[in-house]
Amino acid sequence: MIDINTVITGLGIAGNQVSIPLVQQMLDLLPEIPMVKLIISFILWKPFFAALICPGFTTLGILLLFFPWIERKLCGRIQWRVGPHEIVWWLGGIIQLLADSLRFLFQEVIVHKDAHRPYFLQFPFLTFIPALLPLMFIPAGNIVAIETPYAIQIILAIICLFPLFILGLGWASNSRFAFIGTVREAFMYFAYEVPFIIAVLAMIVLYGTSDPVGIANKQTIWGIILNPIAALTFFIAAAMATSRMPFEIPEADQELAAGPHVEYSGIAFGLIYVLCYEKAYVLAGLMAILFLGGGSGPAIAGLGDLSGVIWFLLKVVIVLTTLFALRTIYPRYRLDQGLSIGWGALLSLSLIALALSIVLVQGGVI
């Protein structure tokens, strides 16, 4: 007979639990049932909780299921339309994405003759690596899967891998629209990546650390107030990186018919369709940590560690909504205009932000 408590201590998951006072009493009663305590302790083990529930898979899944709907509904409201409506119309079409994903799931995946078959089928799945890996390093409150002092750099490095996979998609598609979209993606990649990295660098210089939990703890005044220029640069670069509307240059529906994704159908297209939302989620999480104080906020009574999670998610949702509402405000820029914004205004802004950070640090503000 193995004692469950010995196993839990032996695995090293005993001391690092998510504490939720509200349900703690209920959890204390559970050891009566065998194995359940092990499962519960494992789920509540902070690294596992971060990877599986928040900010990991479950949160991402829920966001993916509902955020395209929220985006379409919000854009519809602003543009005097209704948005998704007919599926469960008395709830405003809330399960639109569920219906869409079912359709994608049962649709045939067509691989056309000219495509590079292995890469064509691999890349939609491979792209999930750079989309999901950064979630391991993003903390929600004090819950984080992998704690390292170089987390921000790692997140940046993985995000910078992202366009390579989209280039791969376009290359494997072997279609003129996909080629043009891919080349545009490559152009935009260079245009936003440098200001983006410099903007993050400005914040790292400001806080003097690149550990996300440390950064969140250091923000007695939010980063967006300390260095608004860096926040603006980061936000515009995020809009470029996720190819949202003013910079929807690689995907240009009207000209390129979705650019690199044009040849995909079925579940492969479904996976690519949610890619930009995943990337937006990661970038919004990064923005929440760098500029909006991460999971800091007034503690909600009875929720313990979950309080930070809720504040973090709230900030992420606000950033995402702002990012998605952009498409109703601005028309699409031309490629040359996008490049000139990236290499001109944005690069200058990021350099100014870096200078401002150095001045703030030298001035002893933080």
Binding site: R77, I78, Q79, W80, R81, V82, A325, T328, I329, Y330
Partner: protein, 242 residues
Amino acid sequence: MKKVTVQEQGLGEKVVRHATAIGVAMKESVYPLTATVFYPRERKKMPDNLRGYLMFDPDKCISCWECAFVCPANAIQMKAAPNERYYPTVDYGKCIFCHFCVDSCSGGALKTTKIHDVAYKDMDEMLTLTEEMIEEPEIIREDKKSVEYVIDEHDLHLKRVREVDTLFVEVTPPVEIPMVSQCIDRASCIGCRVCEEVCESGAISSSIERGVLRMKIDTDKCTGCGLCVKECSMQILRLVKK
């Protein structure tokens, strides 16, 4: 050569314009002016003079063919009826809904309705015969509300009323000005008797008195349709007030 140049804007003006755009978006996301009408469940309230599906009243028709003449799409054809008169048929495959026929109808026999959603199974069915135009068409109504667009000084609003809009309009008949055909220059008549043949109501008669053809217009029978005026080869007939 005139060259189009981009309007130069200062940084301040640009920032103000961006802020205005974002402000409008934020305002609309809170108080949206949704302009959508959920069509099968509610219907937009149409004005009475909407140029929609045509209805026909044979009692008022004087068979003057004016609708068929005026139709720019050549959608109206006159078909002979059992009572030796000619009534219009409308081919909705050709009709462009200009309603010149309704405007030109001197007797007020053709009238418009608010029906704008008509469906046909095939092209042959689109030729609507006179009998089908007399009766009110069968409509499946699913709407519970009617919606009205209200435009005030600044914005457009949707006013929803819980009432079913009636689709058939009672048009007040046009004030009839009784007209009769009259020959203004009898000496120029060449006696072709086209006017007599073309007259539907038999108001024009001819007689030969001492080898001379004499045309006579009976003002009581004349409906003032103007067919003879149109057909007269010497153009000596005119419509005058009775």
